[in-house]
């Protein structure tokens, strides 16, 4: 269910009505009227009064309608030779300009209602013109009260819609609808349920407020028509009101007489402020009745005082037949988003610009850091330059070229380079990388690829040289024999004079997970003056060999004396050597 709010602002009074429901079925959930106090700033005064009256209530956002005093407006009738709504919109101001000599056409809002039309031939229009500044003042007052109206109309159209909803109008009769305001009285003539005429009588029932001390330039004041009321006593006020009632009756009588309706005028329906004497007797034999039938109307409603506000609220619910549209041109309603559209557009353009600049900057920086621009041709947009340009190399491109310059030989400079004979693959890749032809790799990846190619060559050569091998070479029998002979040599005097009559060294494969080893066999003579000394020499040799970490086994052989007492000899001394445990030479 939707809610709508109707506001009627008069000279010194306002009414607010809130409806809840739909156009056909709704109820009045809030209804308030009040006086607008005098103040220096009438817009603020009005806003404060409305705000005070509506304090604590929740009102629908965009479903707020405003009805303004028809005393502000001028009514004209106009006939045009077409009935197309958009065409009428285009020309209406121009057509009615001559009928509004009191105003500059650019200073008024012009609206129109179709009284009758012949499709494609003719349309008879009721044109209303309202000064922009006065309309704007009322709109601003509502805005300051927190109730900016989505649409504005004259109280006459709102009154018509309210009357239709109340069931006052009939298809076979004519009615005169009257709203008595505080400064003016709105009159609507309805014939057969259709709008026939509208007018404003510049006399209202608002005679209770004292006159201001000085002439006011208050925007809410209808300077042209208001009568400044002098301070009055109650008796004088009552007398004045009776005079006003009589005047209104006369004006209504003229209206009834002048009305050209196809149906007889059934009654005059009066709403708004109460005026004694207005409804006492028929006018021109037309009965005068109060405006009844509105939902929410009761004794406290003073005879439908809020009928105009009701009509405005009804319009926002989608009801009503007459659709007055006064929020036009620069007074067009703009929602929160509409107001932010232009700043948002500027902000979004600014955002795009900032991002665009960021994109350019990052692109530039990427060039500076990476490969840069190796092309020697000028870009298409630099059409004024001729000839070639120097390539603009990025940091990594410079690193790549410098590294290659140090590594590869340069015959032009007689520079030998670190690699005297680089492989063809390396040379070819160097050229590709420096020219930026390797599109699959970044500059760093190109450097890493060069390192990888070098590692491949290194690995290949190491394998060729046997520095790395998938299989371990067997232990060296030569090395095993050398280890043993080094010990013998190292003992010096301790082993005395000795003779080697045979040396054999064989590399043997270890069994059951044991290391390979070298089996060294020696036929050794130990020369000495006597066997004892020679034997000691032999033992010392045995002990020295057994003490070595690489000596896995020393098989002592029986010794025999050398003929002539020169010492002893032993054949087939076997030493098992694990070369892998021998200390490695440094460097």
């Amino acid at each position: 269910m939707a809610k709508s709010c109707g506001i009627h602002i008069g000279q010194r009074r306002f009414e607010v009505v809130v409806l809840d429901g739909s156009a056909k079925k709704h109820k009045v959930v809030f209804q308030q009227s009040g006086d607008i106090p005098l103040g220096e700033d009438p817009i603020t005064s009005t806003a404060l009064a409305i705000k005070e009256a509506t304090k604590g209530k929740k009102f629908p956002g965009e479903n707020i309608g405003l009805a303004v005093d028809s005393g502000l407006a001028a009514y004209r009738t106009l006939s045009l030779p077409f009935d197309d709504h958009s065409k009428i919109e285009d020309v209406i101001k121009f057509e009615v300009e001559s009928q509004l000599p009191q105003w500059d056409i650019d200073d008024v809002i012009v609206d129109f209602l179709t009284l009758n039309s012949t499709p494609g031939v003719e349309s008879n229009l009721l044109v209303t013109a309202v000064p922009k500044d006065r309309l704007e003042a009322r709109i601003r007052a509502c805005e300051r009260a927190g109730l900016e109206p989505y649409e504005a109309e004259l109280d006459t159209t709102a009154l018509f819609n309210a009357a239709q909803q109340a069931g006052i109008l009939s298809d076979d009769g004519a009615q005169v609808l009257v709203h008595v305001g505080d400064a003016s009285t709105s009159v609507v003539v309805v014939d057969g349920g259709q709008l026939n005429a509208m007018r404003a009588i510049h006399t209202g029932a608002g005679v209770t407020a004292p006159a201001p001390a000085e002439p006011s330039d208050d925007l809410l004041d209808d300077d042209e028509h208001e009568e400044r009321e002098p301070a009055m006593n109650p008796a004088a006020i009552e007398q004045r009101r009776q005079e006003i009632a009589r005047r209104l009756r006369r004006e209504l009588g003229r209206t009834i007489s002048a009305a050209s309706t196809q149906n007889p005028i059934e009654a005059v329906y009066v709403t708004g402020l109460q005026l004694s004497g207005l409804m006492d007797e028929p006018i021109q034999e037309v009965p005068v009745r109060p405006f009844e039938g509105l939902p929410g109307a009761d004794a406290a409603d003073e005879g439908g005082a809020c009928a105009v506000a009701y009509g405005a609220a009804l319009r926002r619910l989608g009801g009503g037949v007459l659709k007055g549209t006064l929020r036009r041109e620069e007074l067009r309603y703009s929602g929160k988003f509409e107001r932010l559209e232009l700043p948002l557009a500027v902000l979004s353009l600014l955002l795009l610009t900032i991002l665009g600049v960021q994109l350019l900057i990052t692109k530039r920086e990427i060039g500076w850091r990476g490969e840069g621009s190796l092309s020697t041709e000028w870009p298409w947009y630099v059409f004024w330059e001729k000839g070639e340009r120097a390539p603009r190399k990025g940091d990594l491109q410079i690193w790549l070229e410098a590294s290659n310059a140090f590594m590869f030989p340069n015959p032009d400079d007689e520079y030998p380079g670190r690699l005297s004979a680089p492989s063809d693959e390396l040379v070819a890749y160097r050229k590709r990388a420096e020219a930026g032809l390797d599109e699959d790799r970044t500059k760093m990846e190109e450097l890493l690829n060069i390192r990888r190619l070098l590692a491949i060559d290194i690995d290949r050569l190491k394998r060729e040289l046997g520095q790395i091998s998938e299989v371990e070479q067997p232990q060296s029998a030569l090395e095993g024999l050398t280890l043993v002979l080094e010990v013998i040599d190292g003992l010096g005097e301790q082993v005395g004079r000795f003779g080697l009559r045979g040396m054999t060294a064989n590399t043997s494969q270890g069994r059951s997970g044991q290391n390979d080893y070298v089996l060294v066999k020696l036929d050794v003579d130990f020369f000495a003056n006597d066997d004892v000394v020679a034997t000691r020499h032999y033992n010392d040799l045995a002990n020295a060999l057994e003490a070595e970490r690489w000596c896995q086994d020393f098989e002592r052989k029986p010794t025999k004396p050398i003929e002539g007492g020169q010492g002893i000899y032993a054949d087939g001394i076997t030493i098992q050597v694990d070369v892998s445990k021998a200390p490695k030479e440094e460097g």
């Binding site: 559209e341 232009l342 948002l344 557009a345 979004s348 353009l349 955002l351 795009l352 991002l355 994109l359 990052t362 692109k363 920086e365 990427i366 940091d395 690193w399 410098a402 140090f406 590594m407 670190r418 690699l419 005297s420 970044t442 760093m444 450097l447 390192r451 070098l454 290194i458 050569l461 190491k462 060729e464 040289l465 046997g466 520095q467 091998s469 998938e470 299989v471 070479q473 067997p474 060296s476 029998a477 030569l478 090395e479 024999l481 003779g499 009559r501 045979g502 040396m503 054999t504 060294a505 064989n506 590399t507 494969q509 003579d525 025999k560 050398i562 002539g564 020169q566 000899y569 054949d571």
Partner: protein, 181 residues
């Protein structure tokens, strides 16, 4: 949507700018990530270039070693042995080479080359034999001397001191991986 149904110039600008900003923003994000990586690469570049130069030096060293290597790649071991036998300070002279192979373990092959002086009665100084055996291993990292037998050139009795001439036989082995089926 009301926004789209009531399109006006500011709304078109908002929509277009936001769309273009989204696209541009994506590219800015991608470029920023790339730039961050590039800055890191520039930071790492000196280290990588240093590695490259060190590797180049190592490669050059290995190339020089390879040029000195006696037994290269699939080079002829017999040629290698005979070349060393006739090298300066070796002077072993002509040798006989008896190749054989053995399989010490699965996927491994030992190529053996037994070396004997061509002249059975030849004898040599210890230094020549030692230099010969030493160069066989030193000039190639792919061979090992796996059998050495050195005897005085004349049979000596225990206690007998002969002349410093010797005869010898040796065997070198080159162990390689072989493809297994």
């Amino acid at each position: 949507m009301k926004f789209l149904s009531d399109l006006n110039f500011p709304r078109v600008v908002i929509l277009g700018s936001l769309l273009a900003s989204a696209v541009t923003g994506y590219f800015v994000y991608v470029n920023k990530a790339r730039l961050t990586q590039l800055k890191q690469d520039v930071k790492n570049a000196p280290g990588v270039v240093r590695d490259i130069q060190m590797a180049a030096l190592e490669l050059e060293g290995l190339r020089e070693a390879a040029s000195r290597e006696g037994l290269k790649g699939e080079g002829d071991p017999e040629f290698y042995i005979r070349t060393i036998a006739q090298a300066e300070n070796v002077d072993i002279g002509q040798v006989e080479v008896f190749p054989s192979t053995s399989v010490p373990a699965r996927g491994v092959e030992d190529r053996r080359y037994k070396v004997k002086p061509a002249e059975k009665t030849s004898y040599f100084r210890r230094g020549s034999i030692a230099n010969f055996l030493y160069k066989l291993e030193a000039d190639s990292r792919r061979v090992r001397v796996t059998h050495v037998k050195i005897e005085p050139h004349e049979k000596l009795k225990p206690g007998q001191i002969g002349k410093d001439f010797w005869k010898f036989e040796a065997e070198i082995t080159s162990r390689q991986a072989v493809a297994t089926n």
